[in-house]
Structures are given as C-alpha cells and as structure tokens.
C-alpha cells in the first residue's frame, strides 16, 4: 500500500485509486463535481484541485486535479494550502457566474451538491457584475423536470446517460458558454434509466417532476430502508414521505445489487401508494352488490368466523411478503395454499429455482453480472422485465475495454482514456429473442427466433460446448434450428468457451421451460476449467422466488383450486394481495370465485378481484408495512414501513395474524411481533432459514438507541397536525422494527439493511453516501444488505431435486415451426405497464401504452393489415392494435404482456389472427411508427 503525505500527515492508501477517491475514503473533504464513483474521472470541472509537490524540498508545488492523479508511494500533496483553496474557490465562483437566484424555488435545494461545495470552498460574494446567461428549458416527459439555467457543465449527465446507460437522446450541444444539455428537440427521454439523472446531476437541472409539483425538502422527508417492488431484481430504495403521502423514491446504495442506480419503473412507479384507488376501510358486500364499510374489529371477526367454518383455501401472491404468504399458508394449510402464480408461471418459477439451486454455476448478483466478459441472453428482454440487469449488462460489455486498458496499465477510473482506447470494441453479448430488445445496440449479434428455436439454439450451444443432452441437441439442430443460424451457434459457442467469466441469462417471461433448461445446460457445459460461470434466471415479481420456495413444487395451482372449487370442495377462499384476473383467463377466475361461497380478499388497491369479493380487508402497501422479499438472485431483503398505515389499512401479516389468533389457533400463540413470524417461517421452511438474517430484528439498537426515520432537521413537528389538535401526541413507537418514527437516534455505522437516509455534516446531498461506505464507492460500513438464500457457486443445498410437476405441459407446443393460419403468442413486456402496481402510478400513467400485437411485415401483409389497424386474436380473446415490427420472428405474434386488453393471452399459445373490422385507427399514426432499427440480423 502506498503511503502519501497530505498536509504533512502520512496516510496509507489503496494502490490503483486516484487522490480524490483516496481523500474521500480517508474522510478528508475535497470538493468535486464531475467524478462519480461508478463512472470514474474525466477531470472536466477542475473542482478537485490540490497542490502536489515534487519532493520535500519543493515549496511551490503545482496544482493538479485530485481525480486525475494516481496515488503513488511517497507523493506529497496539500489540500489545505492557500493556493489550492483559492483555486477551488475561484472555480466555484466561475461556475456561479451565470447561476440563477433559484435556491428557494429549486427542488435540489437542501440536497444540492453545488450548495455543499460552495459552502465547502467558502465562496460567498460575487465579483462579476455582468449579465447572467439564460437558457430555455425543454419538456423531457412526465418524469423529469429540466431547468437548464442551473447547469455547471460538469458533463455528468451526458456521461451517465450516453456512456453508462446507453441512451442516445441527451447530449451536450453548442459550445463555450452557450453549452446546453438536452435533447435535439423537446420530448420524452427514451432511456429506461433516465430517472437517475435526478441523482447524478449535482445541481437542480434535472429533478423529479412529481416531486417538483408536490415538493418537500429532503430534511422534511421521513424515510426508511425499503426494497423496490417493481420487479424481481430487488433494488434497494429510500422512499420519502411527508403528510401521509409518498413524495419520492431515491436510490439506497447496495454494493451488490443496485449500486447507485435504479430504473425508472422503480423510481417513479411507487406512486401507486398515493393512488385514489387505495382501499381505506374494510368492506362487506351486501345483497345489492354494494360495499358497506366495517370497522376493523368487525371485519376481523367476520374473517375469523368464515375461516373457521367449512373448507378454506388460500391464494398467496408473489408480490406480497414472505411473512404474509407464510401466515396465509398456515391459515389454510399447505395443501390448500396456491402461491398465486398463473399456471405456466408457477411451473417456470419452480423450474428456475430448481435449475439455479442445482447448477454448479454461480448465481450472480448485479455487481457480479457487471464482471461478465461474455454474455448469452436466451429469450428474455431484461430491459423490460428486470431493468437493472440491463444496465449492468451495458457495463459488462465494457470488460473488453478494461482488458485493453490493463495492457496499457491504465487505471480503471481513467474513463475518457479507456473509452477512447476501446472505441466500439466490446465484450461479446449475444441476444436470442423473439424480436428487438433495447440492448441490441451493444450486442455482438441479435438473433430473432421463435421460442422453440431459441431453446434449440441454446441446446446447440450447450452441445457445442460438450455438455447438455447432445442427442436432443442434434435432433433439434436438424429440426428447429434454421440452418442459417447454425453458424451463429458456433460463434456463440466459441465466444463463451473463450471467456473467463461467461454469463447465461434466461427468464420465465417468454413462457418456455425448454429455454430455461437450455440456459442451464449451457451454463453447466461451461462449468469446467478455471471459468467462473454464471447463470441468471429472471423471474417476474418482487417475491416470485420466495414464493416458489415457500409453496414448494407440489403446491396446487389456480386450475387445481378452480377444479376443487367447482367440485364444491372449497367454501371460503382467501386471496392475498393478488388480482387473479391477471393470472388466468377471465372465465376461469370467474368460475373459481363464483364457486366459493365466501371470497375474502386482502389488498391495497381496488381491482377486479376485490370487486368480486364478499369481504375486503385493506392491506398496507410496501411503504406502510414491513416484510421480506426474495429477489431473483435469491437474496432475502427486508423493507420497513416508511410511515404508518393510513386509515384502517394494516399490513397483511397483521390482519392474518390477528385472524389466526381470533380463531384460537395455538401455533400462533407464541407469535407477537413481525420478527416472530419471520423466525417461525425460517424454522418451518428449511430453504427459507436464511431470511432472519436479511436485517436485524426489532431489538437491535445502535449504541443504545434506535435508528431515526427523520433527519435531524425535520421541521414543523409542533404545527403539522395543529389543525387537528394543538396537543401534540407522543410520537408513535415502532414496536416492530429497529427504526423510530422520530428524529432521535443514531443514523451511523448501522447494518446496511437499516439505512433510512444519508446525510453527513457538510454533505447534504446524496453524495454523502461515501461517508457511510468503507471507502468511496465501496460497500456500506455496516455490511451489504440482504442475505443470500441460494448459495452462489452451487454449494447445492438441494432441497428438492425432483422434476417439477407439469413441466412438459407448460410447453403446449412442440418444437415444430409455424403452423399455417396460427401464430404463436410471445410476450413482449414493457417497462412501464407490464407490472401491475407501477402502472397505477400517476407519474407513469402517461407512458403506459395500451395493449398491442406485433407481427413481422410479411405476416402483417399476409393478413392485409398494417400498423395501427386492429387485430382480433383467437376466438375473441382480445382485440388489439397492430404494430408491424421488422424484427419480429415469423409466425410469432408479440403481445404487450400485462397491458390493458391482454389479460386473456397466454405465452406460447397458438392463436388465429384476423383483421378487426370495427377497429378505429388512432389519429396521427403513420406506417413508419414501427420497431426495430436497421442492422440487426433477421432470421
């Protein structure tokens, strides 16, 4: 470790870092703007100036940029020297020349890195008397507010947006002091990760638009550590609340999961918490079909009464916590507990779980995905199903660049140099999908194939690598694999075989078990030699994997329940946080609900299932309750209530536990707190034993005190509810978690799972997170949040290795190619809208498109229809708008999974298509509004 001298003090620092990082890691405050721990240095802002001396005799020294200066043994620097300080102050003064007088009306104020740095360098008085430059703002869509006057031209935004996230529609324009960061013309920012601009930009140029219109300063937000419920990646978040409304979601740093970035579904999709569809009171359906509000006690009595008599069945939910699902399973018994997936998904998620648990390959976290040097994606459009993984993959293709840099002994933080060196050289990324995906621009090759061919391609690659079921592979290679791509299969094989850290990605979205198996075969074929092989199988929802572990492979599915109900074997059905109409055919769900004499639904938002229930109990959403979720990498993570449930809402586990107690079920007598349920579940289900380690229990104290949800400057405490009563009540005590609904306590050095907000003296912005890290950009001091349940690297705690029931049935189609007159339905999920809850967020509503069907031009022409026309799918399954997509595999009909009007469509079903005669074209559509760019190979 090199020893450097800063202002006369010797410090040991880590080799390979730059001086700025090292200073921050040492706890020394050195101002900066353009450096970002995840994006490295470019030396653009000149803010991190320090004086470097040649040797001990040198008294003059010279000014260097901290972020561009590698630390080397014996180097002598001065941070505090007058020259460096004057330089840094002059830099801020020059950045401020044109800065508007906006802080009071700027949504960055109070958490503005520019404010912090200005105070840090001591700049106070303007000397410049000239006029200030001004800019016009742009409309950048419903999510992000633009206020260009506040820019300090640090280039972080374009470096993030273009270089890091692969966006194309934001750039630096014009020159000298005319420079402008925006789009070529007004319009919605196209990147799925645009929201991170809010946190990346050190000023108030890019701010969260919904926050700007219902603003609360950072110091007034009550926050708690939370986990995104948008998809199965399980990014860590810090939602902020004030006056009972969720105001915004910020990233919570987790070195192994989301790092510094979220996707826009996660950042802007939590607004459903404030939805006016949120249920507030229990309701009992009366004879006339209307609901009567009940008080919670009466509701509970009724629920207990109905659950005590007759035969009870329960349907859990992959979007509800492990604990709530566990209690429901206890209530109805394992044999009567359906996990709440659709039938196909249930098979596939169990299969994905089994394949990952059994695989010798590593099940990677997101940070490890970034280290992959060759990637094969089979069938899954990760940008739209597990978005944060796509952002990680965009970093993985840069490993080629880092290799080249290592040869030239360039440090990894030399961002501009490395990009210049590598130009367009990337690590191999192969995508086999039914049509274009947003990652295509960084892919070595994209193959657009029908699902069966994707599986066959995977098998061919596995066979080529000397693994898998080679006979099946050869058969398929002859049959389903078009001759044209046999060469591509060989190229993929070669690339993966040559990699040190190959990664195979597949997922459940495309509905094919064969693809999942093929991916696992490729991974296991790669698991030889010194390679670190990774296998990542995406599942759809926040707790899909946890639900599959909890329910086990033998759990009944929805069809089984419906058959039992129709046979009169179910009297009462309890549905937990699940809109069944998204899980099965309308007719089937209608039949299920109609056959049960009592339907009890616990949910947070009004939906078709709550409307069909006899008794509805309002369940608290993720921001009002605690729970454990198991992410797609098998990481159990805890989310904590940000604020207390409003109205009569209660966490689902509270309702269920109270009901079990009311029923005098002795097994719940020892359960009093949330933690007791977690422990009981861990003890009951061996595969879930690790969930207790997801976060400390409620007895955890940080040096004798709880962890405060409110920052030390939380204001208005004696006025907030003075309109209701001037007598301030005692702050409610949190009896379930180690966090407190107050500003008293200690937010420092606690376990990573308990970080509610970041702030440090002098660092009001989110940049203060480095004060919570072991080193700048490193993991949190208190350890990384979450507990892995699937042991990475296949330590093989095989809990069940039996084949998953009904696996083959899921593939309701042979490997054979297109059948004349029938198209195979393939899901085409969208980041906005395919997920049930985030689609209800007002901020995203505008971006959610209506359902659609995608066909390749030849198929569309054969039907005599074009983009914008209506298509009738099957026998009145759906009528949707057509989008002609040049890249769509022939014989496949993509549908916007989860979007309005697609409820009856099931992945891989063969359906007929015809022109919908009564369809009204939307105005303003032209034939060129279609997907897929040029340059992608279309098979």
């Amino acid at each position: 470790m090199p020893t450097i001298t800063i202002d006369g003090v010797h410090y040991e620092v880590e080799q390979g870092k730059n001086l700025l990082e090292s200073c921050l890691s040492l706890g020394l405050d050195l101002p900066y703007f353009c450096w970002h721990p995840a994006m490295g240095s470019i030396g653009a802002c000149r803010q991190c100036a320090v004086v470097q001396y040649q040797n001990a005799e040198d008294t003059r020294g010279r000014i260097v940029m901290g972020c561009m200066t590698p630390v080397s043994d014996g180097a002598i620097f001065s941070l505090a020297g007058d020259k460096a300080q004057q330089f840094r102050e002059a830099i801020v003064e020059s950045l401020m020349l044109n800065h508007p007088h906006d802080c009071p009306v700027c949504a960055e104020g109070g958490e503005c890195h520019l404010q912090d740095m200005t105070v840090m360098v001591g700049h106070r008085d303007r000397h410049y008397r000239g006029r200030k430059n001004t800019h016009r703002n742009q409309y950048l869509g419903p999510l992000i507010n633009h206020e260009m006057n506040r820019c300090i031209t640090c280039y972080r935004c374009t470096r993030y947006y273009r270089d890091y996230a692969g966006g194309t529609d934001l750039a630096a324009m014009a020159a000298h002091d005319h420079i402008y960061f925006g789009r070529h013309q007004e319009g919605v920012l196209q990147s799925e990760f645009a929201g991170n601009l809010v946190e990346v930009c050190p000023t108030g140029v890019f701010t969260d638009k919904s926050l700007v219109h219902d603003y609360t300063r950072k110091w007034d937000l009550q926050s708690a550590p939370s986990v995104c419920t948008g998809c199965a990646v399980g990014c860590n978040t810090m939602p902020g609340e004030r006056y009972g409304r969720l105001k915004r979601v910020h990233n919570r740093f987790n070195a192994e999961v989301n790092g510094y970035f979220l996707c826009d579904r996660g950042r802007f999709g939590a607004g459903f918490v404030n939805s006016d569809k949120a249920l507030e009171y229990p309701g009992l359906r009366q004879a006339d079909g209307r609901y009567r509000a009940l008080d919670h006690h009466e509701a509970l009595l009724r629920m207990a009464q109905q659950c005590a008599q007759g035969r009870v069945a329960g349907i859990g939910s992959p979007r509800a916590s492990v604990e709530a699902n566990y209690l429901l399973r206890q209530l109805v018994g394992a044999d009567n507990f359906a996990p709440g997936f659709s039938d196909t998904e249930q098979v596939l998620v169990s299969l994905a779980l089994q394949l990952q648990a059994d695989s010798a390959a590593l099940v990677p976290d997101i940070a490890t995905i970034e280290s992959a040097d060759a990637v094969l994606i089979l069938g899954e459009d990760v940008t739209n199903t597990a978005p944060r993984i796509a952002l990680a993959l965009r970093q993985s293709v840069r490993n080629k660049a880092y290799e080249l840099a290592a040869e030239l002994k360039l440090e990894t933080w030399q961002d501009a140099a490395i990009r210049n060196l590598a130009q367009h050289q990337r690590s191999p990324l192969f995508i086999a999908a039914v049509a274009d995906t947003p990652l295509d621009d960084v892919a070595t090759q994209c193959l657009y194939l029908a699902p069966a061919s994707i599986a066959a391609l995977g098998q061919a690659v596995a066979a080529g690598l000397g693994g898998g079921d080679s006979k099946a592979a050869t058969d398929n290679a002859a049959g389903a694999l078009p001759r044209a791509i046999q060469a591509e299969a060989a190229a993929i094989t070669a690339a993966l075989a040559g990699a040190k850290r190959p990664l195979v990605i597949a997922g459940t979205t495309c509905g094919s078990a064969a693809i999942l198996r093929a991916a696992a075969e490729v991974a296991s074929a790669l698991c030889s030699g010194a390679r670190q092989t990774m296998l990542c199988l995406c599942v759809p929802e926040a707790n899909s994997l946890g639900q599959a572990i909890l329910a086990g492979p033998d759990a009944p599915n929805l069809t089984t329940l419906q058959q039992r109900a129709s046979a009169g074997e179910i009297d009462t059905l309890v549905v937990l946080e699940n809109d069944l109409y998204r899980r099965g055919n309308e007719a089937q769900i209608d039949a299920l609900l109609a056959a049960c004499s009592q339907v009890i639904v616990l949910d947070g938002l009004d939906n078709a299932t709550t409307s069909a229930a006899n008794l509805v109990l309002p369940a608290a959403n993720f921001a009002e309750s605690e729970g454990t979720l198991v992410s797609l990498e098998g990481r159990a993570q805890r989310y904590f209530p940000v604020f207390q449930p409003q109205a009569e809402r209660r966490a689902a586990w509270v309702w269920l536990l109270a009901c079990l107690k009311e029923m005098e079920r002795s097994e719940v007598y020892p359960l009093h707190h949330f933690d007791d349920i977690t422990r009981a579940c861990a003890a009951d289900i061996p595969a879930l034993a690790g969930i207790t380690a997801a976060a400390p229990d409620l007895h955890y104290l940080n040096l004798g005190v709880k962890i405060p949800r409110q920052p030390a400057r939380y204001s208005g405490r004696t006025a907030m509810r003075a309109n209701i009563s001037v007598h301030e009540p005692k702050q409610r005590e949190d009896e379930e978690t180690p966090l407190a609904f107050t500003m008293e306590g200690l937010n420092r050095d606690q376990p990573g799972a308990l970080l509610p907000w970041v702030w440090a003296p002098g660092w009001n912005s989110n940049q203060s997170v480095h004060k919570f890290q072991t080193e700048a950009g490193g993991p949190l001091k208190g350890g990384t949040a979450g507990a892995r349940l699937l042991h990475p690297g296949g330590s093989r705690n095989r809990t069940n290795t039996r084949p998953v029931a009904g696996d083959a049935a899921a593939e309701n189609s042979g490997v054979s190619g297109a059948q004349p007159g029938l198209w195979q339905l393939v899901p085409r999920p969208r980041i906005f809208g395919s997920d049930e809850l985030s689609a209800m967020s007002p901020a995203l509503a505008e971006l959610v498109s209506p359902g659609f069907i995608e066909l390749c031009p030849a198929d569309a022409a054969g039907l005599g229809i074009d983009t914008g026309d209506g298509v009738e799918v099957g026998d009145q399954l759906a009528t949707l708008e057509l989008r002609v997509n040049d890249s769509m595999a022939a014989g496949c009909a993509g549908y916007g999974a989860g979007l309005a009007g697609t409820g009856n469509l099931r992945a891989l079903a063969r359906v007929s298509l015809r022109r919908a005669e009564t369809w009204q074209r939307r105005p303003g559509l032209i034939a060129s509004d279609r997907g897929a760019g040029p340059g992608s190979s279309h098979v």
Binding site: P104, V105, E147, N149, D220, Y714, S715, G716, R717, A719
Partner: protein
C-alpha cells in the same frame, strides 16, 4: 461607622427623590406603548409590490424555527409560481425569536409590532394562511423575488429577470 451612615442617608435621599419623578408604569391597555417597527410580535405573510403572494414555500422558515411551529406544503400555480398550499403557524409554540424572518429569502414572513394574541383556547392560536396573509409589503417595500430569480413565470420569461441576458440560441454558431 460614619461611612455606613452616609450611605444610609444617601439611599433615603435617593428614594425620596423618586417620589417626585414621573411614573414608568403604563396604563395598558388604555395607554398603548410605542413599539418600534422591528419589534418581534405576531407573524404575517406579506405580498410583493405587485400584489402577489411573496411566499414561495421554500420551507426555510420552517427549518429555521427552533420550536418547529411552522408547517407548510408547496404547490405550483398555473403561472409557474411556487406557493404554499397551506401555511400554518402554531403561535402557542412560537417564541417570537424572528429566526423565520431571518431565514426567509423572499421577505415574505415578517414579525410585526403586535403582541396582543391572548386566547382562552389554545387551538385559536393556530393560524392558517388566511390568518397570516396581509395585503401589503410589510417592512420591506421593494423586493420581488421573481424579478431576481431565474425561474420563468407567466409574464416574466427567461432572460427577463434583473441582470439576465436574453436566452441563448443553442443553434447559433456565433461566438
């Protein structure tokens, strides 16, 4: 002995003199005392010289308040101005320290020389915006935040605030 006697006599003499000075006691409320304009009494919200609400709901007064007795919520008007949707001061907590006035960047919140705020019911001490807002500019007559700020509002476009150059044409190639 002698000196203590002198001291006693002098004291008696001084007290005697007081019998003929003017009484300091004021017959309040019949007689109103003079309070300087900058006396720190009841708080008001003022308007700018153009008659628009001055407060921009920046929350600085609330965070400056040592007893946390100010609560408000920001909202945005049609014309682009930020304003408080509600603004509440719990005067039963207020200690008239004037920190809010110090903190206010728009001169909106001002303390006035009025201290007569007794109530039998504490809840009457909770003032909402309609009780706080006055029609005039208070002590500071000329300041109008939006004339200085870079935020565009209806009637004041980018480049029209004081000391601002007209908006840059990004597409221009001129230096």
């Amino acid at each position: 002995m002698l000196s203590s006697l002198t001291s006693q006599l002098r004291t008696i003499w001084t007290i005697l003199q007081h019998s003929f000075t003017k009484a300091e006691t004021v017959q309040y409320p019949e007689q109103m005392p003079y309070l300087a304009p900058r006396y720190r009494g009841r708080i008001v919200l003022t308007k700018d010289p153009d008659g628009e609400e001055r407060c921009v709901a920046c929350n600085l007064c609330a965070v400056a308040c040592p007893v946390d007795c100010i609560a408000l919520q920001q909202a945005v008007k049609e014309d682009g101005r930020w304003y408080p949707e509600f603004f509440r001061i719990n005067f039963s907590r207020c200690i008239m320290c004037g920190m809010c006035e110090e903190a206010c960047p728009t001169n909106a919140i001002q303390l006035t020389p009025d201290f007569e705020m007794c109530e039998y019911d504490r809840s009457n001490m909770v003032y909402e915006k309609e009780h706080l807002q006055i029609d005039g500019t208070g002590k500071y007559h000329d300041y109008n935040f939006y004339r200085v700020s870079g935020l565009a509002i209806k009637g004041k476009d980018k480049g029209q605030a004081s000391n601002e150059a007209p908006p840059i044409d990004v597409k221009s190639l001129l230096p």
